[in-house]
Structures are given as C-alpha cells and as structure tokens.
C-alpha cells in the first residue's frame, strides 16, 4: 500500500479539481476515480460573482486535500500561498508549484528547492512539482520533501511521458514516493508510469476535459491499477532479437 508521510492510500490515482464543466460532473468523476487525495488551488474571491464554493462540494471525510501553490512565480509567493492554504483549513499537505513562465508552466528548480526547505521547517507535508531531474529529486528529498512529483510533460498538454529516461532514474534512486504529475493525457500514459514503478500519478486535465469525465475517471483508475499490478508482478525484459513463444523443436514432421 502506498504511504506518504505516514498516510496510507489504497488508490494510487490522485485527482485534480480544475477545468471541470460543472461541480456536479467534478463530484461524479472524483467518485468514479476512486482517488483519495485531490488538489485544489487558491484564488481571490470574485466579489461580484462568487460562484460555487468548492469546499461545500467536496467531502472532506472522503478526500485528503492537497492544496497547490499554482500561480506562484517564485518561492516567496509559493510560501505565501502555502500559508493561506493552511489558514483556509486546507491542512498541512501541499503540492508545491513554482512556475515563473506562463507559456510553458515549467517549474523553477531553484525556487522550488528553496520553498521546500522553508515549508518543511514550517511543518508542511511538501510534495514538490518538479521537472524530471534525478539530481533535483535527490536534493528535494534531502531537504524533506514527502514525495517528488516529476512531470511527464508540461501541464495540460496531454502529451504523456516525454521524460521517461529521467523518471526511470528518479524512481531507481528515490527514497520517497514518486508521483508522476502533469501531461498524462490518456489512461495508457498513466499505466506506463505505473509499469515503470511510479508510486502514484496525478491526473486533472485528461479527466476533466474528456467527453465523459466520469467514464474517463474510471478508465484512469483501471489503468493505474493495471500498471501497478504489472509492475508488481515483474515485467519481462525487453530485447532486440526475437525469441519464439512456441517451441522450436518437434517440427521434424514438416521435413
């Protein structure tokens, strides 16, 4: 069973709550996904049109909240958002995101490391979103990250795992759980991450923008489970040359 910071998870799929067409669909999709931890973001209240309050929709007994620091452009902004998240009753868990470039939304490694260090000391359970850099993963775990969250491909691109080689090294080396986050656009991408030995995946866009988010959530849940089962049962080695699946002897009668 997956354990992060002493908390046990029976589902290895973490869900996002952004981009759903309605609160009702989000609720149903999260339910169908079986996920136990979900991300939320922090934003100013729109005083002229407050809209739905997500906290009145989410069942806090069922889902562990993983507030993110999306929108933070440097460590100081991320730290400020983290403190807001805690003050909002979001608990101590935090998906640390520091993305200075709005075009790529790629994470800033230096600021992410700096913010992790500060926030861990403040008692946050920090899961940093990071580029798939094996050295950075080690540095983040050294300063107390509870897990590392390398990207498969940039946020919201649905491009799958473009960082396979680096994620494989991160998984080999990490002492903390590895959660592949961002860019997983299809259940097959999630299955691949799990087959590679990732401890969990985080999926938002691919489920939220699917034609039927509820069915897609189920598809991701199955893919994550299948990928994990495959990893645990031990995949056969890949090789260049053919190896017959049928016996090569006993064909003399054809001569």
């Amino acid at each position: 069973m997956l354990t992060i910071a002493g908390h046990k998870f029976s589902s290895r799929l973490f869900g996002g709550t952004g981009k759903f067409s309605s609160s009702e669909i989000m609720k149903k999709a999260l339910d169908a996904s079986g996920c136990e931890m979900i991300t939320v973001a922090l934003r100013r209240v729109n005083l002229n049109d407050p809209g739905d309050d997500i906290m009145s929709i989410i069942d806090r007994k069922r889902y562990l909240l993983l507030p993110n620091t999306s929108g933070a452009r440097d460590a100081d902004e991320a730290i400020r958002l983290a403190r807001f998240a805690r003050a909002s009753g979001g608990g101590d868990w935090l998906k640390l995101e520091v993305t200075p470039d709005p075009r790529t939304l790629l994470p800033d490694p230096v600021e992410t490391l700096r913010a992790t260090e500060v926030l861990v000391k403040e008692g946050f359970i920090v899961l940093p979103y990071m580029n798939a850099d094996p050295i950075l993963a080690l540095r983040l775990q050294d300063v107390g990250a509870a897990a590392v969250m390398p990207l498969g491909s940039p946020i919201g691109t649905n491009q799958g795992i473009l960082t396979r080689f680096q994620i494989e090294i991160i998984i080999e080396q990490a002492r903390v759980p590895v959660v592949v986050d961002a860019g997983l656009g299809a259940p097959s991408h999630a299955a691949l991450a799990m087959e590679m030995g990732a401890d969990a995946v985080l999926v938002n866009t691919a489920i939220a923008v699917a034609g039927d988010p509820v069915i897609m959530a189920q598809a991701f849940a199955k893919a994550v489970e299948a990928g994990r089962m495959a990893y645990e049962s031990g995949l056969g080695r890949q090789q260049r040359e053919s190896m017959a699946s049928s016996p090569q002897s006993g064909l003399e009668f054809l001569d």
Binding site: G16, T17, L42
Partner: protein, 66 residues
C-alpha cells in the same frame, strides 16, 4: 467608510466585523481566508476583528485546480 477589498473600493458600515462583512457578501467564513493589511487573520478572530477606514482586505478561498 471605505475599505479596499480584493483591490476594489467598498463602502462598509462603521464598526463592522470581518465576520459580518464576509457573511454580508454571502460567503462562508469557514471557507474564506482573510488577509487584513498584509496579515492573515485567524478564523477564530473574525467575529472580533473590527475593520477600520482604508483597510486593505484580501478574501481568498479554494477553487478547482490541478
């Protein structure tokens, strides 16, 4: 009197508490975090927190995100 809430000038009654102001906006004080003149206010202090002329208030809450 006037305060600035989320960068907008707003007219509020003299002596209004933070909690009353949040409730008047039809918001749930339990799910809104307030930053008053740069300081996060603890939820348990909302009711006793009386706002002053020219205060800069930020009201923030959780929204859907990935």
């Amino acid at each position: 009197m006037e305060i600035i809430c989320n960068s907008e000038p707003r007219q509020v009654a003299e002596g209004i508490s933070l909690e009353k102001y949040i409730l008047d906006l039809d918001l749930n004080p339990n799910t809104v975090v307030a930053e008053y003149n740069g300081q996060i206010v603890r939820r348990e202090d909302y009711a006793d927190y009386i706002m002053e002329e020219g205060a800069i208030l930020e009201l923030i809450r959780f929204v859907g995100g990935g």
